[in-house]
C-alpha cells in the first residue's frame, strides 16, 4: 500500500503552518487547515492509518472550537496543533516504512480533550476581551443586546416594518404547519416553518424585543431538531408550534397598539405554560407512524370492518412474523388483489408528484398575455371576415389558430388552479380554535379537498367561508349536554365538501346541529316588517329570510360570531365574487350552507344585451329573469319613480340608456325587454333593447384611467372583436338611486 499521498498531504499542511505570522490562526488560515485536515482524514481512512485519522479529527475539532472562540488558552492551543501536525508526520512516516505505528497517540488525543474540556467555562469566555480572530457571542441562548446597540437601531419605522413583516411570516407559518400535519416527513415544510421563526428572532434581537426573541428562539430550536431528525413531528409538536405562532402574533400585535410594550407580557398570555409545553415535547419522544398502516387503509376503503382488523391484529400477535395482509388473506377476509391495491395506495401517499414551483406573478403575466393573444386573434379574424379578398387558405389557417389559442387559454387558466385543500385545512384549524372557545367538541370532515379553484379566488372566498363556519360552530352546533339530550353523540360534526358543477366550484358547509328555527325567523321577520304574514311560505323561502339584513336569529352575541356580521353580509360578499349562496336545514338534524363560486375571476359567464348600438354584459349569476313588461305592469308614482310589477312584486325600473346616455331603439317599456337583476340585496328591472345571447367572456380591466366608472366592472372583447362593457349590478343600482 502506498502512503505517499498521505505523507504528501500532511507535509503540505505542515509547510502552510510554518508560514503563520505570530502564534494566532486567522479565519483564512483556519479554513486552509480544515480543508487540509479533511483531505488527510479521508486519505488516512482509505489506507487504514487509523492513528492519523484520530489525530486529524482532534485537530479539526480544536480548530472548530477556536473559530467559535472556545479555545481560551490560545498559546497552548496553538502548541497542541503544532504538536499534532508533527505527530501525524511521524506516524505517517512509520506507516510508509513499516506499514504500522508502534507508538500510542492516545496521550495526545487525551491532551486535546483536556485542552478543550478545561477551557470552556462559558461565562468567563464571554467576558473576555474581544479576541483577534473572531468576535463571537457564545453559542446557545442568545445574549441580551447591550442597551445602546438596541437604541441605535431602534427607530419607529423599523419597528413598523417588523410588525408588518412578522405578521406576514406568522401567517405563512400557519399555512405551512397545516401542510406539515399532512406530510410530517416533508423537510421542505419544516424548513418553511423554521425560517420565519429564525428571521423573527434575528430582527427581534436587534430591536431589543426580548420576549419575542426568546419565544421565537425556543420554537426555532424545536423545529431545528425536527429538521435534523432529532425530533419526530408529532401532533403535540404541531399543536405547540401553532400555539407558539399565535402567541407571537399576540405579542407583535401588542406592539402595533403600544410600541412601548415590548417588555410586558399581555394579559391572558401564559408564556411560561407554553415554554413548559415546548420543553415537554422536546423531552417526550412519542412516535407516530409516518404513513398510514395497511389495516387503516383497508378499513377506510370499506374493505374490512374495524372488528375484522382487530381480529387480524390479534392473529399476528399470536404468530409473530406474519404480516397483517397475510393474516387477513388467510382468514378469507380480503382478497390478495385488495391488499395489493391498498399497498399501492400506501406507497402513493409517500411518493411525491413531480412538480415545480412557479411564482404566481409569472403565471398571471402569462395568462394576461394569453388573454391578449386571444383578443388579437379574434381581431385578426374579424378583419379578415370584413375583407372581401380573404384567401381561402388564410381563412382555414386562421380557424386553426383560433382552435389553438382557445386551447392555450384553457390550459393556461388551468395552471393557476390549486386544490381547495389548503383553505379547508385553514378552516379546520379555525374550527378547532372556535370549538374550544365555545366549549364544544367538534370533528371536521372533509370531502373533495382536491377540487381545484383559481389561486386568486382562494383568498377572496376565505372570509365569507369563515363567517359561515363561525355561524355553524357557534349557533348551529349544540353544547355537548344538549346533544346528548337530543340523542346525538357528544361530538358535533362540521362537514366541508367541495365539487365542481358547471363552471363553478360548489362548497358546502354543513353541521349536524339543531337546524334553523323557523318560528324564530318568522317572528323576527314580522317584527322587522320585512314580512306581512307568516302564512304561505315554503320552508326554503323561510330559510332564505336569514339573508336579509337584521334577521340573524342568534339569541345572544358571542365573541365567536361577533356582532354585526349577519348572513346578509356573507351573502353580499359571496355575490361580489359572482357567487351564490343557499341554505338547507332540517330541524334537529343540521344546517347546510351551499355556496357556489366561479372557478376564476378572469372569465365571466354573462348575458349580452343590446341598448341602442352598445352592448353590455350582465353577469348570469345576477339575473333572475327576463320578460317583456306589459302596459298594465308599468307604474309611475310621483316621488317613488317608475316600477314594473313582476310576479306580484313591485320592482324599480332602471332605464340603462338613461344612465349611460345612449339613444335607444325603444323607449317604451312594453316595447323593450326587462331583465330582473339582483345585487346587494336589491332587485331591479333593467330596461334593454334586446337580448343578444349568452357568452363566456374574458374580463379585461379598463385600465387606470377608467378605474371607477359607476356601474361598470370591466370590459370584454366580444366574438366580433368589439368591446362590450360588463355591468356591476350593485354599483349600477347605487348609481341609479343617486340620479
Amino acid at each position: 500500500m502506498s502512503y505517499d499521498s498521505l505523507t504528501g498531504f500532511i507535509d503540505s499542511m505542515a509547510s502552510d503552518f510554518l508560514f503563520i505570522d505570530g502564534r494566532d490562526i486567522d479565519i483564512s488560515a483556519a479554513g486552509k487547515f480544515l480543508n487540509h485536515l479533511d483531505q488527510i482524514l479521508a486519505e488516512a481512512e482509505k489506507v487504514s492509518a487509523l492513528p492519523v485519522a484520530k489525530i486529524s479529527r482532534s485537530l479539526s475539532h480544536i480548530l472548530g472550537k477556536w473559530l467559535i472562540d472556545q479555545v481560551k488558552d490560545k498559546e497552548t492551543g496553538f502548541g497542541t496543533i503544532e504538536k499534532g501536525i508533527f505527530l501525524m508526520q511521524e506516524v505517517a512516516e512509520s506507516y510508509k516504512n513499516t506499514g504500522a505505528y508502534g507508538g500510542d497517540v492516545g496521550g495526545f488525543i487525551g491532551g486535546c480533550a483536556t485542552l478543550l474540556g478545561e477551557e470552556i467555562p462559558l461565562e468567563a469566555a464571554a467576558q473576555d476581551k474581544v479576541p483577534d480572530a473572531v468576535e463571537a457571542a457564545p453559542a446557545g441562548e442568545p445574549e441580551t443586546v447591550p442597551e445602546s446597540a438596541a437604541d441605535q437601531v431602534q427607530d419607529e419605522s423599523l419597528l413598523k416594518d417588523f410588525i408588518v413583516e412578522a405578521c406576514e411570516y406568522i401567517d405563512e407559518i400557519e399555512v405551512n404547519i397545516l401542510n406539515l400535519e399532512q406530510e410530517p416527513d416533508n423537510k421542505e415544510f419544516i424548513n418553511a416553518i423554521f425560517r420565519p421563526f429564525h428571521s423573527i428572532k434575528g430582527v427581534a434581537s436587534f430591536l431589543n424585543l426580548g420576549i419575542i426573541r426568546d419565544l421565537a428562539h425556543k420554537l426555532e430550536n424545536l423545529l431545528d431538531k425536527a429538521r435534523n431528525g432529532e425530533q419526530e413531528v408529532t401532533p403535540p409538536l404541531i399543536d405547540v408550534v401553532l400555539d407558539g405562532a399565535d402567541a407571537l402574533k399576540i405579542l407583535v400585535n401588542q406592539l402595533k397598539t403600544d410600541p412601548g410594550s415590548s417588555q410586558t407580557i399581555p394579559e391572558g398570555l401564559d408564556l411560561e405554560e407554553l415554554k413548559k409545553r415546548i420543553q415537554m415535547v422536546e423531552e417526550g419522544r412519542t412516535d407516530i407512524p409516518a404513513r398510514k398502516k395497511l389495516g387503516e387503509i383497508l378499513v377506510e376503503e370499506g374493505v374490512i370492518t374495524p372488528e375484522t382488523l382487530k381480529k387480524g391484529l390479534d392473529t399476528i400477535e399470536k404468530k409473530p412474523g406474519t404480516k397483517i395482509g397475510e393474516a387477513l388473506i388467510s382468514e378469507g377476509d380480503v382478497t390478495p388483489k385488495q391488499v395489493s391495491q391498498a399497498l399501492r395506495k400506501q406507497v402513493d401517499q409517500v411518493s411525491e408528484a413531480s412538480t415545480i414551483r412557479v411564482d404566481t406573478h409569472k403565471l398571471d403575466d402569462m395568462i394576461d398575455m394569453v388573454g391578449e393573444l386571444v383578443i388579437t386573434q379574434s381581431m385578426v379574424q374579424q378583419d379578415l371576415n370584413m375583407s372581401l379578398h380573404a384567401d381561402r387558405n388564410l381563412m382555414r389557417d386562421i380557424a386553426q389558430l383560433f382552435r389553438i389559442t382557445s386551447a392555450l387559454q384553457r390550459a393556461s387558466t388551468g395552471l393557476r388552479m390549486i386544490p381547495i385543500k389548503q383553505t379547508f385545512q385553514r378552516m379546520s384549524r379555525l374550527v378547532r380554535d372556535l370549538s374550544k372557545a365555545a366549549g364544544k367538541t367538534v370533528a371536521v370532515e372533509m370531502e373533495g379537498e382536491d377540487t381545484e379553484i383559481d389561486r386568486n379566488m382562494v383568498d377572496e372566498i376565505y372570509n365569507p367561508l369563515v363567517h359561515m363556519i363561525r355561524n355553524s360552530v357557534d349557533h348551529g352546533l349544540e353544547v355537548p349536554a344538549d346533544r346528548l339530550r337530543a340523542g346525538k353523540s357528544e361530538k358535533g360534526i362540521i362537514r366541508l365538501s367541495a365539487y365542481h358543477r358547471g363552471g363553478n366550484i360548489v362548497i358546502e358547509i354543513s353541521d349536524d346541529g339543531r337546524g334553523l328555527n323557523k318560528e324564530k325567523i318568522l317572528d323576527k321577520a314580522i317584527k322587522n316588517k320585512v314580512l306581512q304574514s307568516r302564512d304561505g311560505l315554503s320552508d326554503a323561502e323561510i330559510y332564505r329570510l336569514v339573508f336579509l339584513p337584521g334577521l340573524s336569529t342568534a339569541e345572544k352575541v358571542t365573541d365567536i360570531s361577533g356582532r354585526g356580521v349577519g348572513m346578509d353580509v356573507v351573502k353580499q360578499a359571496v355575490e361580489k365574487l359572482r357567487g351564490k349562496i343557499e341554505i338547507e336545514s332540517q330541524p334537529g338534524e343540521g344546517t347546510t350552507f351551499i355556496t357556489s363560486f366561479p372557478l376564476t375571476m378572469a372569465i365571466i359567464d354573462g348575458m349580452i344585451v343590446k341598448v341602442g348600438p352598445e352592448r353590455y354584459i350582465l353577469p348570469t349569476t345576477a339575473i333572475r329573469q327576463a320578460l317583456r313588461p306589459t302596459r298594465e305592469s308599468y307604474n309611475n308614482v310621483v316621488g317613488k319613480g317608475e316600477t314594473i310589477r313582476v310576479m306580484g312584486q313591485l320592482l324599480p325600473l332602471v332605464r340603462l340608456y338613461q344612465l349611460f346616455g345612449i339613444d335607444p331603439d325603444y323607449k317604451d317599456p312594453w316595447e323593450a325587454i326587462g331583465v330582473v337583476v339582483e345585487g346587494g340585496n336589491r332587485s331591479k328591472c333593467l330596461l334593454v333593447d334586446k337580448i343578444v345571447g349568452k357568452a363566456e367572456v374574458v374580463i379585461k380591466s379598463l385600465g387606470e384611467g377608467f378605474k371607477n366608472i359607476r356601474g361598470i366592472s370591466g370590459g370584454a372583447i366580444l366574438g366580433d372583436g368589439q368591446v362590450g362593457l360588463i355591468v356591476d349590478p350593485e354599483g349600477l343600482f347605487d348609481f341609479s338611486e343617486r340620479q
Binding site: 479554513g31 472548530g64 463571537a136 457571542a137 411570516y169
Partner: protein, 126 residues
C-alpha cells in the same frame, strides 16, 4: 479606510436588511445595495461591481453558504470579501463557512461598531 466601498446586503427578511443598512450607515458606509436571496445576490454580483458582501446564513432558494460557495467558485468573484451573518456561533456551521472560504462571520445581534471593525479588518487584508 475607504468608506465608499459598495456593500451588498443579502437577507430574505426585509426588516433585517434595513437593520443592517442602518448599522452600516452609522458606520459611515453609504453605498449599499440589497438582495433578498442568494440567487438575486449572484445576479447583482454578476452585473455590477460589489466590494463587500454581508450575507445571512439561512435563506430560502439559496442559502448563505451556497452563495459563498458559488462566489468562491467564480473566477471573477473568488476573492470577494464575504461576511456571514449567523444567529449563533454553531461550530458546525462556522466550520463549514470557514472551509468554504468565508472572510469572517458575525453573530446577531451586533452593534455598528463591531460590524465596522469586522469590515475594516477584512478590507485591510485585501
Amino acid at each position: 479606510m475607504d468608506k465608499s466601498i459598495k456593500i451588498l446586503i443579502v437577507d430574505d427578511f426585509a426588516t433585517m436588511r434595513k437593520v443592517i443598512r442602518n448599522l452600516l450607515k452609522q458606520g459611515g458606509y453609504e453605498n449599499i445595495v440589497e438582495a433578498e436571496d442568494g440567487v438575486n445576490a449572484l445576479k447583482i454580483l454578476k452585473s455590477q461591481k460589489i466590494d463587500f458582501v454581508v450575507s445571512d446564513w439561512n435563506m430560502p432558494n439559496m442559502s448563505g453558504l451556497e452563495l459563498l460557495k458559488a462566489v468562491r467558485a467564480d473566477e471573477e468573484l473568488k476573492a470577494l470579501p464575504f461576511l456571514m451573518v449567523t444567529a449563533e456561533a454553531l461550530q458546525e456551521n462556522v466550520v463549514a463557512a470557514v472551509k468554504a472560504g468565508v472572510s469572517n462571520y458575525i453573530v446577531k445581534p451586533f452593534t455598528s461598531a463591531v460590524l465596522d471593525e469586522k469590515i475594516k479588518k477584512i478590507m485591510e487584508k485585501m
